[in-house]
């Protein structure tokens, strides 16, 4: 809104006199291209996951006489994990809705709830990993396990950084309120968080469910 009013006189002046150059920079408000830029980052992240999915798809059947997905995966635990991530997605949506109404306290509360669900997801995933490693199903055991830990671990790492980002933003909003910059960051984290949920759909379908069917 501020950029539109600031641009109006400049644009008027430009059309009156001879135009020697196009002052493109003035027409983009601060952060105006952030969403597109962040979307492009997410798309490149998507390619990272595509490569990891392809690696898993190629190596996922090479058990080296070790444990197969059927022996390792506990689908009820994966279903619980998926529920955690889905719930964290909708609570982040509630946080965005409160942000649009400028309710700082409620926004922070929903963000905290999202963080708890995200933390629960990580806890369940790490305990699953710990259980597998305890049973001897380490990444070194077979090509299947190497690619499994790389793919699912990379997703878990993303969730970890999402939670760190969330804590940072909560402190930011707590200290500086819901200003334009913080709103922009919250919407970027929203895209990141929902994107991780999209990747998880691929993980539970391609890795867990199809692994058990294999």
């Amino acid at each position: 809104m501020t950029t539109a009013t600031a641009n109006a006189p400049a644009a008027g002046a430009a059309t009156d006199g001879p135009v020697f150059y196009v002052a493109d920079e003035h027409e983009h408000g601060e952060g105006g291209s952030t969403y597109l830029g962040f979307w492009l980052y997410l798309m490149s992240d998507c390619l990272v996951f595509a490569v990891l999915f392809a690696t898993y798809g190629v190596l996922g059947g090479n058990y080296a006489a070790g444990p197969a997905p059927k022996d390792l995966f506990d689908l009820s635990l994966v279903a619980l994990n998926t529920t955690m991530l889905l719930l964290s997605s909708i609570t982040y949506g509630f946080a965005v809705l409160e942000m649009q109404k400028n309710h700082t306290q409620r926004m922070l509360l929903w963000l905290l709830v999202t963080m708890v669900f995200g933390g629960a997801f990580l806890f369940i995933e790490l305990s699953e990993f710990a259980h597998m490693i305890h049973e001897g199903a380490t990444p070194q055991r077979s090509a299947f396990l190497s690619s499994f830990f790389t793919l699912v671990g990379t997703h878990g790492l993303h969730v970890t950084f999402g939670i760190i980002w969330m804590i940072t933003l909560m402190v930011q909003v707590w200290k500086f309120g819901l200003n334009e910059a913080n709103k922009r960051r919250l919407l970027c984290l929203s895209m990141f968080w929902h994107f991780l949920d999209v990747v998880w759909i691929g993980v539970f379908t391609f890795v867990y469910l199809m692994g058990v069917l294999r």
């Binding site: 539109a4 408000g29 969403y35 392809a54 889905l86 997605s89 922009r184 539970f204 199809m210």
Partner: protein
């Protein structure tokens, strides 16, 4: 030609001005709830199919859960990531389509090539040796 381009640019610039105060298309409660309900259903069905073995046939189950997963990804894109053909002047959709093409080439290409490579390799399982 040049005036057309300029007019187009002006239009885009004013679009940017509109964007900068809300950034995204406005999120609505009904949109999030619709997305949530749909994704719960689309998550529950594949888990139920695999855990109970309703369809009996593994190949058929695989096709069904892959299809449901693809539908759920679209649901998340529309209701949670607010993808519309017009967001960011169409550039995010263009980037998405480009990425999907690359993802499909990477996945199908790797699986296809490596599957044939595996079938042409010497069998590792001693029982399958001639």
């Amino acid at each position: 030609m040049s005036t057309d381009a300029h007019a187009g640019h002006d239009h885009k610039a004013s679009g940017h001005g509109d964007h900068s105060h809300d950034g995204h298309p406005e999120s609505t409660l009904s949109g999030y709830l619709t997305g949530f309900v749909l994704s719960v259903i689309l998550t529950a069905i594949p888990f139920w199919l695999v855990m109970t073995g309703q369809l009996g046939n593994n190949g058929l189950t695989t096709v069904v859960i892959l299809a449901l997963g693809a539908i759920q990804i679209v649901v998340h894109m529309v209701y949670f990531l607010h993808m519309t053909p017009s967001s960011e002047g169409g550039w995010s959709l263009l980037a998405l389509i480009f990425t999907i093409i690359l993802v499909v080439i990477t996945l199908s290409g790797s699986l296809w090539v490596m599957y044939h490579l595996t079938t042409n390799m010497m069998p590792m399982d001693p029982s399958k040796l001639p």
